[in-house]
């Protein structure tokens, strides 16, 4: 807008900023101010009918209880549930979404119809989805009766009421596991940078890994507080049903993302590869999937932050008081709004926020940094 007169630009620019101001003030208060308030509340002993002003500051006590206290074992199992849920939900959505996108990308008839067909669950509320799937997972009806339609005996899967736990580990070992996982991840990143010949990036990622490694070897993880007694957590099979319902609802979303990406790939690229003798699987493996890699990353981030916050689906499928399918999102609601333990609810909320921020903040900053100034 270089050709405009200075005066009119200044006046109109001021108007523009004024128009934006209400939104900014609202978000400053309702997002950042409220987060700050929650963070403060999480460091008090505010609970029950006590007036908030009379609550005492207790520092990180609530967090310490959540991660080590005997009574808060449910929170830790909730974190483990979230971890496994996120893992399987993401894998399911990515695999199914990619498969659907590849199928629909084959120049089929009624392409739009198929796409609408696989994406319609996205228009539904998790409450609707949950209600329906809860009925489908009825242990003596629903999916378990499907084999009887072709004369087979009914299945006896317990679905949401299953109490079996697999892939177990002792929470006391978690600090060690996590540090090792971080070291391995950094080493892999460093190795990839090395192969790309990016010296500085290699040194930085390697440079972070080495001190952590030394810290682990010196017994650093032992200094991280853990529960006093051995505490076994794992993947509750009751979560399988919830994963299935969530994948049913969200895989159309990854399909739409992959399809949008595939549409951007020039036709010549595929044709050239086929002329060169590549079969269809090689075309996808070596040409299309590498181009779609950024989309996979975006999808993982979007799906990941949804699953870290998951609330409605579990609330309606398994109920808010079902410990085997508990997640922090539900536990926060129950703790704060049913149990009136506001401070502890606030602490759970802040843990959730940190988990989501770890995923979202790098994504937001890199996405917007790469965007050219208009």
């Amino acid at each position: 807008m270089a050709r405009l007169t200075v005066k009119s630009i200044n006046r109109d620019r001021l108007v523009a900023i004024l128009m934006l101001t209400p939104s900014i003030i609202l978000l400053a208060i309702f997002v950042y101010g409220f987060i700050g308030k929650t963070a403060y509340d999480s460091m008090t002993d505010w609970k029950g009918v006590a007036i908030e002003q009379e609550a005492n500051f207790v520092g990180l006590d609530n967090y310490n209880q959540l991660f080590t206290g005997l009574l808060d074992v449910r929170f830790r199992q909730g974190l483990v549930n979230t971890f496994y849920f996120t893992l399987f939900f993401m894998l399911g959505c990515l695999a199914l979404g990619l498969l659907l996108a590849i199928l629909i990308d084959q120049g089929i008839r009624f392409e739009d119809g198929w796409r609408i067909m696989f994406l319609f669950p996205m228009a539904l509320s998790f409450i609707v989805t949950g209600t329906v799937w809860r009925w489908l997972f009825n242990p003596i009806g629903g999916l378990n009766r499907l084999p009887t339609l072709v004369g087979l005996p009914p299945l006896e899967i317990k679905w949401l009421t299953d109490r079996t736990q697999i892939l177990q580990f002792n929470w006391q070992n978690l600090p060690l596991f996590l540090s090792v996982a971080i070291i391995i991840a950094l080493a892999v990143i460093a190795f990839r940078y090395l192969r790309q010949g990016r010296k500085r990036a290699t040194l930085i990622s390697g440079g972070i890994a080495v001190p952590i490694l030394i810290w682990v070897l010196l017994g650093g993880p032992n200094a991280i507080p853990v529960p006093k007694y051995e505490e076994i957590h794992g993947f509750n099979l009751a979560m399988v049903g919830i994963v299935i319902a969530a994948v049913w609802q969200m895989s159309g979303y990854t399909m739409a993302m992959y399809l949008a990406g595939m549409r951007g790939i020039p036709e010549e690229l595929r044709e050239a590869a086929i002329v060169d003798g590549a079969n269809v699987f090689q075309v996808y493996r070596h040409i299309i999937l590498p181009i779609l890699q950024p989309i996979t990353l975006s999808a993982m981030i979007v799906l990941g932050h949804i699953s870290l916050k998951i609330f409605d689906l579990i609330f309606v499928m398994a109920g808010p008081d079902n410990a085997t399918t508990d997640v922090p999102g539900v536990l926060m609601f129950v703790t704060a709004f049913r149990g009136n333990e506001f401070a502890k609810g606030a602490a759970i909320a802040i843990v959730m926020l940190i988990m989501v921020a770890v995923v979202i903040v790098p994504y937001l900053t890199t996405t917007l940094r790469s965007e050219h100034e208009l």
Partner: protein, 275 residues
């Protein structure tokens, strides 16, 4: 455009049909269960078609849910319209009147759409309580408008970014100011943007549950999601009723989706892929 990929046609269509059967299984189950009378719902015949069709479920569900459907509409329509308008103005400013620090500000705004709302829920609850908006629909509208600002701003900002700056400059040379340019140049071409945003916000607000269950439970002002969850969560339910209720709750967003699917997908992708 014809793609000559040699992937076997039978394989492609076979898989598509199989997968759509899986995707439609829940839809089939909802439909048949909602059309059975309670004593027709036995585990042996859970997959069979209703005989006779029992339309009473829908009459009962309508009676049980009509007030909550009305609540949902009273909540969703104003909040959708207000957030669309706000988003349009914000997007206009952030795309055509960029100022120093606009990008940083925009990033900070966007963060608000990803946060787990649990992290603001306690102060929000207190605040609404204090100003008398707890437990009623205006309070919930306010909440949806505020937390809708990031996504509506994002969609409009990306939409307006495509509008050539020359058009804005031409307007400015003709003497139009901030509002003149918005009214005569930007707003008239904003229809597709509005459709995307309105569909998105409508679906979001209609399907929302956390705010609704925290801020309206037990007040009679619950939207349909809360009412449905209350019914389905109860023990010893007659399943025809929640199924019919689920269909009623799903219908408005499904209709929007089927009629305006293209715009729905654009809104869906706006949050992840840059527009």
């Amino acid at each position: 455009m014809i793609r000559k990929t040699p992937l076997n046609r039978f394989l492609v269509y076979g898989l598509l049909i199989l997968l759509s059967a899986v995707f439609l299984l829940p839809a089939y189950m909802v439909t048949i269960t909602s059309l059975k009378s309670p004593d027709q719902i036995t585990m042996d015949t859970v997959w069979s078609l209703p005989n006779p069709w029992y339309w009473q479920s829908f009459a009962d569900a309508w009676e049980a849910f009509a007030p909550y459907l009305a609540n949902s509409f009273k909540l969703v329509i104003p909040s959708t319209l207000i957030s669309a308008l706000l988003g349009s103005l914000n997007g206009y400013v952030l795309s055509k009147w960029k100022f120093r620090g606009a990008n940083l500000l925009f990033t900070l705004m966007l963060f608000g759409m990803f946060i787990p709302y649990q992290s603001i829920l306690i102060p929000l609850f207190q605040f609404l309580n204090r100003i008398g908006l707890y437990g009623n629909i205006p309070g919930l509208i306010l909440v949806h408008v505020i937390y809708g600002i990031p996504i509506t701003t994002l969609i409009f900002r990306n939409y307006y970014a495509e509008v050539p700056t020359e058009m804005v400059e031409a307007g400015a040379i003709d003497g139009a100011g901030f509002f003149g340019i918005y009214r005569h140049i930007m707003f008239p071409i904003s229809m597709p943007g509005f459709v995307v945003v309105i569909i998105w916000q409508f679906t979001q607000a209609w399907n929302e549950f956390l705010f609704a269950v925290t801020l309206t439970s037990g007040t009679g002002n619950e939207p349909i999601t809360v009412a449905l969850s209350n019914l389905a969560g109860g023990r010893a339910v007659q399943w025809n009723l929640p199924m019919a209720g689920a269909m009623l709750a799903a219908l408005p967003t499904l209709i929007v989706y089927v009629v305006l699917g293209r715009y729905f997908i654009r809104g869906l992708l706006a949050g992840s892929v840059k527009g």
